[in-house]
Symmetry: C2
């Protein structure tokens, strides 16, 4: 498949692996890029800018295809040396950066000067338009379905994507809810130039997370995610495990100590250890609504081939057959 | 366009007008059917079964195309003579019925005996499978985006539709979030045999509601709906007007009198008078998330032609161009 996205990024399939904290390591990014998609390392999964530099080099040894780096700017208690991470990205010769969280404007001049293509994640049309205005190259439109932070508007991709198609001039990627060829074909129909997948890539052979997590995703259905932290206006879609249910329980009874209760619970939880040790109930971990569409743990190569082939078949057979018979023709022959 | 839906219903375009209380009168149903879609009268908009019989006759005088009748079974304080309404539908020779609300099983034997095609609205996969099992002919899958009652699961059409495609044998219609050709093409890509539109048909010239309501929908954006009655587990997506905001305010502070406070507020509100007199803030009125995609008030004929032509163009041009270049071909030539 060839779209504006594949052309701009120099990739084979219009499928981007979304930046995922603790998951976006060289093993996964290289596997996705080798399979013809765009793999993405997450900068802040590395403890220091120097470690990111090493991870980028490690990824280069595993693939000669393009891959990108995600640098998410979030409010943190402990200051994070974002500028240092950005400098490592630029100096290492990375040509594709995914930004998320805050407005990426301060980082754009150095990125653009280095010839970097910037993909910015947005959960709303107003932020997408702002991103276009400040010079972002591609918007990744994140619907209500997505894992992690969907924002507070709760607008789904069936509304966001056609709105983006009407209002944006720059290309956009559909993100949130994608895991098969039906979704890819539908996203292209709605005007997107490709799809972003996070959760679906967690359930692949190469994802550097514990098998128990992958198995939990295979067994989960569409009802197994929850929106937590809504009362803090920092909503996150996560796997609905015991700890997520405890957070929801605290949030359902507002009170003076609510914020402290949540903080205590979450600080004790260790998201990273879910992934490394498979301790499914010991931390909060992101999962999108698409867990309901995940039934197996293929390699990235198998997954991407299957998605693209299904989408191509839908377009070439199903849609072409339906679309070939125009309403007026039926009418005339009736 | 020809799909299993158009074949089963004997219609030209795979577009069904959803049943809408106070709106599903002969004027709208006949206009939709005359435009090549399936118009639907709502039985309970008529005060008595006899009045429904007259409305069906009135609709027949306005169109010789097929149209259907919606009979929604809801818990009510005052008993509703559902069996009488059903008998009128059957005896009047109607051949397509849309059921919603409760399980339609008790009504299926008489409908089937009369050769009626039954479309049942479902907001979940488990209800869709149940509907298939009991003998419903077509499921109308209602996503989180929809106006009225989306259920309590909050699963969007980007997840529900591919799940329905995997699990159902009977054809299904995509409902909730649809208003343009992009959405139709995407719904077909996800496996639906057509789309159901409610909100979008309210903003047509023939919709028998006050112009002020139509204008409010044109001016609204995607953020102008609200989910009310969640605390009663009877969630409804409505236009976010002053009265909806008052309900949300009451729901945000749980207490002993919450239920009474809501009932008092809602009983004073007159949904019907919003539609008839254009008193936008005097009642709760349903509107789906698709209000964000509505920019004008066309005739039903213009609307349906535009949607089908846009979908056909997306399939014949955009998708065919993208799908024609297979990944392997690019790879080989790179």
């Amino acid at each position: 498949m060839r779209t504006r996205l594949t052309e701009m990024l120099g990739i084979e399939h219009p499928i981007v692996q979304g930046g995922m904290q603790w998951v976006g390591l060289a093993e996964l990014a290289a596997a996705v890029s080798n399979a013809g998609g765009l793999g993405i390392l997450t900068a802040l999964t590395q403890p220091t800018p120097e470690a990111l530099d090493k991870e980028i080099k490690r990824c280069r040894e595993m693939t000669d295809k393009p891959f990108g780096v995600n640098l998410t700017i979030l409010p943190t208690i402990k200051p994070v040396p974002y500028e240092e991470y950005a400098r490592v990205i630029i100096e290492s010769g990375i040509k594709i950066v995914e930004t998320a969280g805050r407005n990426p404007e301060p980082f754009l001049p150095p990125y653009k000067a280095a010839g970097i293509t910037v993909i910015h994640k947005c959960t709303s049309i107003r932020h997408s338009l702002k991103a276009e205005r400040i010079g972002v190259d591609i918007v990744s439109v994140d619907g209500f379905e997505c894992a992690g932070h969907p924002g507070e508007d709760d607008i789904t991709n069936f509304i966001l994507l056609p709105l983006a198609a009407r209002k944006l001039s720059i290309p956009f990627i559909a993100s949130g809810g994608f895991g098969d060829g039906k979704g890819l074909a539908a996203a292209l129909a709605l005007g997107a130039e490709g799809i972003n997948m996070g959760t679906r890539f967690m359930a692949t052979k190469e994802a550097p997370i514990h098998d128990k997590v992958k198995q939990a995703m295979v067994e989960a259905n569409e009802l197994d995610t929850a929106l937590i932290f809504r009362s803090l206006r920092n909503t996150a879609r996560v796997f609905k495990n015991g700890i997520a249910e405890q957070v929801l329980e605290i949030e359902s009874r507002p009170g003076e100590t609510q914020f402290e209760d949540i903080r205590e619970l979450v600080q004790g939880a260790r998201g990273r250890e879910v992934y490394t040790r498979g301790e499914l109930d010991h931390g909060i971990w992101s999962a999108g609504m698409v867990v309901g569409l995940i039934d197996d743990v293929p390699t990235c190569e198998e997954l991407l081939r299957r998605i693209v082939e299904e989408a191509e078949q839908i377009i070439a057979e199903r849609l072409s057959a339906i679309g070939a018979v125009s309403g007026r023709d039926i009418h005339a022959s009736a």
